[in-house]
């Protein structure tokens, strides 16, 4: 029987942990997510069914320790050369069940990349936050507080705006940073996150990268307020809301790295965000494949299974083809993050632009094939009982985040065509 494992992965790239991580995650997803996911839409605000599944994966199985150094109780992926490919596999498996859980999981790690990843490990901050994540069986979320109400994706538009539009300020007061501002839409906001990585400016309006600051901020500090989650077309397991910072004080050394470096390594996060978005898309697409195959075996037309009708098979073929392509590109991009010695630093303009291109491609394909899957299913396509329509709704959201299509296009054009004014 053909399965999702028949889709190609570049086998030479797989990490030594691939089988282990993959099998655990798959078993978890099939046991704790897939039987429940149909109810997630109604659970968007409370996460009553969603939370226990997170607990099991992140807390009990300990996947929230992925990047922390081993000596602090982590898995030590921050100094491996397979954190990218390994993370890709895990996120793919989670997203096969629910890509919103994929993003909530990945974003939990996202700000920690800043301090846990070679060659820029900040051991003091690792030590500060490791207990929070590594010494508990409860799921602990983190979030990147980037986007602001006025600017949409301006924050991610690093090359053009260089942080000049950031309104959230960090002011040095003795040995503390005082943070003020309003962030909108971060994944794991809406009450989920216990720790924020906050994108701030130390000098409003400045486009000097030195004034771009990435500062950690525990969510329970006085002055931090999270709003209620917004309702969306899908992605219920990913809470998005407002966060207000009102004279929030953190120690001065909660800034990730300091002038210039915060800006530099923040670009690495953009690369990772894109590659893992590709993993979410890939995972959801794989599930669409298996669900659709089943549907087309059960349903008959012209006296035979749907899949044996040439016209339907033609569409099915295009779907399989595009999943195959997407997955190959996904693993290649993850490998590029793992091998900066070959491909350049994760934060280089080249890698940032290319990862944007890959994510943009994968999401376009994911949206396209999920739509085609619904088309094939006809009047059964919009049944929530089939779960495919859920992926269709979720994937559109994956397509639109991280600055969406237009920003990706501008960054890709800027790099490949050496545009100077875009």
């Amino acid at each position: 029987m053909r399965s999702i494992d028949d889709f190609t992965r570049p086998l030479e790239y797989l990490s030594p942990l691939d089988g282990y991580l993959g099998e655990i995650t798959r078993a978890w997803a099939e046991r704790e997510v897939m039987p429940l996911r149909r109810g997630f839409d109604e659970d968007w605000e409370d996460h009553e069914t969603i939370e226990p599944a997170f607990k099991s994966l992140m807390g009990e199985l300990g996947f929230q320790r992925f990047f922390f150094p081993e000596d602090m109780g982590g898995f030590g992926m921050g100094h491996s050369d397979y954190g990218g490919v390994g993370g890709f596999r895990v996120c793919e498996e989670i997203s096969r069940a629910d890509s919103a859980m994929g993003v909530a999981f990945a974003v939990m790690h996202w700000p920690l990349l800043m301090i846990c990843k070679e060659p820029h490990v900040n051991r003091r901050l690792c030590a500060e936050f490791a207990p929070m994540f590594c010494q508990t069986e409860e799921p602990v979320f983190a979030a990147n507080a980037m986007t602001e109400p006025q600017g949409g994706s301006d924050i991610e538009n690093l090359d053009l705006l260089k942080g000049s539009t950031i309104q959230t300020t960090a002011t040095l007061d003795g040995d503390q940073w005082v943070i003020n501002g309003h962030k909108l839409w971060p994944t794991n906001s809406g009450g989920a996150a216990k720790l924020f990585g906050v994108v701030c400016t130390t000098k409003p309006g400045s486009s000097d990268p030195d004034d771009f600051a990435f500062i950690f901020c525990p969510a329970d500090l006085p002055g931090v307020t999270q709003g209620k989650p917004y309702q969306k077309a899908g992605m219920a397991a990913d809470k998005n809301s407002d966060i207000w910072f009102d004279n929030v004080r953190v120690p001065v050394w909660y800034r990730a790295h300091g002038p210039g470096l915060d800006f530099l390594y923040f670009k690495e996060m953009v690369s990772w965000g894109n590659v893992l978005s590709l993993a979410f898309a890939s995972g959801a697409m794989l599930n669409i494949f298996e669900l659709l195959k089943e549907f087309c075996e059960e349903t008959t037309f012209r006296g035979k299974p749907l899949k044996e009708n040439d016209d339907v098979a033609g569409v099915l073929a295009d779907i399989a083809r595009d999943i195959e392509i997407t997955r190959i590109v996904g693993y290649q991009s993850a490998r590029m993050l793992d091998r900066p010695d070959l491909y350049g630093d994760n934060w280089s303009d080249e890698i940032v632009a290319k990862c944007r291109a890959y994510k943009c491609f994968a999401c376009d394909k994911a949206v396209e094939i999920s739509g085609k899957a619904l088309d094939i299913m006809g009047p059964r396509g919009s049944d929530r009982a089939r779960d495919i329509e859920k992926h269709w709704r979720d994937l559109k959201i994956v397509q639109l985040w991280l600055g969406g299509k237009q920003l990706a296009q501008m960054e890709v054009a800027r790099w490949f065509y050496e545009c100077e004014t875009l």
Partner: protein, 412 residues
């Protein structure tokens, strides 16, 4: 709505009565739907049902094609096709799902209320429902894929149910028939519909039978959860010799019903795209891009994509109104059930539903998180139109149906 401005359509086909209807429906859209949209979201009881009641019962859209004498709107000539498009476009503009439910009702009525196919017995049977003070919705059951059930096929699409003549008499409109089929999926309203127009196989030919939801032998499953179309509470039907009324038997009338239905759904899609265009327009007027105080719509990249969305809107409206005219004038274009009109209707529906979907997809891309957040309302159109696109006719069936006419297929 001025039909010669912004997105011009062939205005000469829109009569004064149509404009009046448009005015009425337009006011309804603003007052009953758009105004309440944000708070109520997709609440059936407090928003959708009352809005449908107002539109279909109070304003009479639900009985528009029924004869004067039975308390209907009396639009019983084929001209009503244009009126239907005018109204359905606006209904879809307000709420895709409401438009879709109306499209089902009107398409069903077209099969027995419009000259030259006025079926007195069927009118008599259905008038108490359509022309009453209550909200009585209709759902069509159309051929498409099978599921291992052998009810026969019409032009390659399989019936979901079979129909049996229960009397000794010859078949005629209004005759009592029995309908049988399991896991029958109506286009809409399996759980909140009052009657179903079921295209089924009857002695080797397609027939339309109307089965009331109260018929003995008809059971509906629990409503199922679905992507969109909240005004339609849908469920699968199980018919075990359920008693119904025959409307017609024969290919041409079946194609005619489908042509009307495709037209109606295309109009709903056009309206939904129009609404999405407006949402996008507001976004483009009020947002900035690239942090430079550059108005969103004035950036060449976003402007170009916005232009595509709107251009598609204009083209789709022309197609829908042209199809309506063809159905309105069978003397010039041939009957609604002639193969070239059915092929044209199929093409127009596919262009309209795909084009609308593409436009809304693009609008979402431009609006990013506002595109998928419930509060901007766009994502609802997106879910609803996609559902229509998949419901009305399976993608490759539509393509093969077109091929059948244009290339003279014989075997498929």
């Amino acid at each position: 709505m001025k039909y010669q401005e912004l997105f011009p359509v062939p205005v000469e086909w829109v009569q004064e009565t149509d404009e009046q209807m448009a005015q009425t429906v337009s006011q309804w859209a603003e007052a009953e739907v758009k105004a309440g949209r944000l708070e109520h979201r997709e609440d059936y009881d407090t928003l959708l049902e009352p809005a449908m009641r107002k539109l279909m019962v109070d304003l009479g859209l639900g009985s528009m094609l029924m004869p004067d004498g039975s308390g209907g709107g009396g639009m019983t000539t084929p001209d009503a096709a244009v009126t239907a498009v005018v109204c359905l476009e606006l209904a879809g503009y307000a709420d895709t799902g409401i438009g879709f439910v109306c499209a089902n009702t009107l398409a069903l009525q077209s099969s027995f209320a419009i000259e030259p196919n006025v079926e007195a017995a069927v009118l008599e049977e259905t008038a108490p429902l359509f022309c009453s003070d209550g909200l009585n919705l209709a759902g069509l059951v159309l051929p498409g894929y099978g599921a291992g059930k052998d009810h026969g096929a019409f032009l390659g699409m399989e019936y979901q149910a079979s129909c049996k003549n229960t009397s000794d008499q010859e078949l005629h409109a209004g005759a009592e028939v029995e309908v049988t089929g399991t896991s029958v999926r109506p286009q809409c309203c399996g759980a909140n519909g009052s009657l179903f127009g079921i295209v089924c196989g009857l002695d080797g030919a397609p027939a339309l039978a109307i089965v009331p939801s109260t018929a003995e032998g008809l059971k509906a499953s629990e409503p199922f959860l679905k992507t969109g179309l909240a005004p339609s509470i849908n469920a699968d039907l199980y018919l075990d010799g359920a008693g119904g009324t025959l409307v017609f038997r024969g290919e041409e009338r079946t194609l005619g019903l489908l042509s009307w239905y495709y037209m109606a759904c295309a109009a709903v899609c056009a309206g939904s795209l129009l609404a999405s265009y407006e949402i996008l327009k507001e976004w483009g007027d009020t947002r900035v891009i690239k942090g430079k105080g550059q108005v969103f719509k004035e950036n060449p990249l976003t402007a170009a994509l916005m232009g595509e969305v709107a251009g598609r809107c204009g083209a789709i409206r022309i197609l829908v109104f042209s199809l309506a005219r063809m159905l309105a004038r069978p003397d010039l274009y041939g009957p609604a059930g002639s193969p070239h009109i059915f092929a044209t209707a199929t093409s127009v529906f596919k262009q309209a539903s795909r084009g609308a979907m593409l436009g809304i997809d693009n609008a979402m891309e431009l609006m990013a998180s506002a595109g998928y957040a419930t509060e901007w309302n766009l994502e609802r159109y997106w879910r609803d139109v996609k559902t229509i696109e998949t419901y009305v006719v399976p993608e490759t069936c539509a393509s093969v149906n077109m091929a059948r006419h244009y290339y003279g297929l014989k075997a498929l």
